[in-house]
Amino acid sequence: MDITNFLIMKQELLLTLITLFILVSEIFVSDKRRIIPIAIVLFGIHTLFGFLYNSYGSIFGGMYQNSELVNLMKNILNLGVFIVLLQSSTWLLKEENENKISEFFILTFSTLIGMNFMISSGDFLMFYLGLELATIPMAALVAYNTYDKKSSESGLKLIMSAAFSSAVMLFGISLIYGQFGTLYFSELLSADMTSPLLILAFLMFISGLSFKISLVPFHFWTADVYEGAPTNVTSYLSVISKGAAVFIFNILLFTVFRNIVDVWSDVLYVLAILTMTIGNLFAIRQTNIKRFLAFSSVAQAGFILLGLLGTNELGMATVIYFILIYIFSNLAAFGVVSSIENNSGKLNIEDYNGLYHTNPNMSLLMMLSLFSLAGIPPLAGFFGKFFLFTAAAQNGYYWLIFIAVINATISLYYYLIVVKAMFINKNDSPIEKISNNWYMKTSYIICLIGLIVIGFYSDIFEYINQISIGI
């Protein structure tokens, strides 16, 4: 084996090196605050390298594979993580976190390595290892505020339900192994999956992954974990972790489970309706902004399933495109929420009353991101949703699209509640003017550019569409 073959794993290897570098530099850097710029610059270089010098192929006997498509997915995740790191600076610089700054970066990068391995896995063993590497450090991240009851409670809820769901998923994988005697995706491509045993195995497998994407009825952990976790970890969890799970879900459905497309179409049809409707209905009654965004992200996952029902190149392209837009929209919203939480400690939607009079720029960014999440035309979110509906319409799911459009309208109602609070509602003691540091400002600018440009710059979608795979 040629040593240059390892360059196929460039992203993971580079990320591992950065993680080790931060681990060692923690010993030698006396002022822990200096780790923040080091980590952000190193990760920025890593993000840039993701676009350059790529080699594709498979190693370890097909257990690990990299293609242009997989590399694009990793680049999208890198971009999101870069924004999350920029946004977390204010929170990490607080006095209580002074001694555990490097822990945040090490754990975040570990989960990202896990997600990268999960996306580029070529068999179920590598998939499982990547999934667990993405989940276990995540629980530690969620329980980061060790003296906060809520934080440790949500860490517990995450690790318990993650362990339970991965056990269910493993049982499904073991049944698949029992039937075919192989775990490689490439050998399972031509396998006949129609026997009842394999349908059961598939259902157990899909429930394990649905937990990661937090589809209804597997969403019970979402709101509690999102509320209790530190806000920057919540944004990481709701965007990057969910995006990675959607990517591998997409790849697996379109390759390994392509022979039972009739079965999984029916399953996804029901899951999509449940997820959109219940996510929306619960989002309406929330008063805490983090729980509100949690349920809105549950509802967004329901829309993503519409793209998966497209079952061809267009379907996969719309899902990836939607995740790209979702990263910018949701991170802009979470950026504003974390900035407000770190400066004033306020998290209720009614605390946002009159925000426009004191913080006009942040209110405008929050409004744009919420409009993008709702799908209002000039912003990128509209194009994302529109393409998802187009993909589903190709296969004739008109009733589903009808329900989805009703749900998009309902979602506009609760997004507008927040916008109304910021711009119209009167408040005698609004949140004071917040001056963000330049990390935060950079992240806002990146999000703003993403929100506006991605929708209009159609080359991005055409590029994704060109490299996507279908059944």
Binding site: S152, A163, G178, G181
Partner: protein
């Protein structure tokens, strides 16, 4: 392969173990016991993998290796879970799951 024991018997045992684990996870109130229930589920999967490997696909060792990895990861998972439970105990002075209810809406 063991003389006189069919694969159906082994699958029966592993399925029973798995669902006892599910039942235990749903009904138990103590967090450590819930963790034990999850271990039961994972061990059921291990039995499945090893039995399938031995009885149905003896030509390669994938099932054995998979179960080894499951054992290792289950240990890591339990370590993190117990660390979080200890931290929770410091904050709440209880490891009863009914007391872990700060967030309810």
């Amino acid at each position: 392969m063991i003389e006189g024991i069919e694969i159906q018997h082994i699958i029966l045992v592993s399925s029973l173990m798995f669902f006892i684990g599910v039942y235990g996870f749903m009904t138990r109130k103590n967090l450590i016991t819930m963790l034990m229930a999850i271990e039961l589920m994972l061990n059921a999967v291990n039995i499945n993998f090893v039995a399938f490997n031995k009885y149905l696909h003896p030509e390669n060792m994938q099932g054995h290796f998979y179960s080894l990895f499951i054992i290792a990861i289950a240990a890591a998972e339990a370590a993190v879970a117990i660390a979080i439970i200890i931290n929770l105990y410091r904050n709440l002075h209880s490891i009863d799951v009914e007391d872990v209810n700060n967030m309810k809406h």
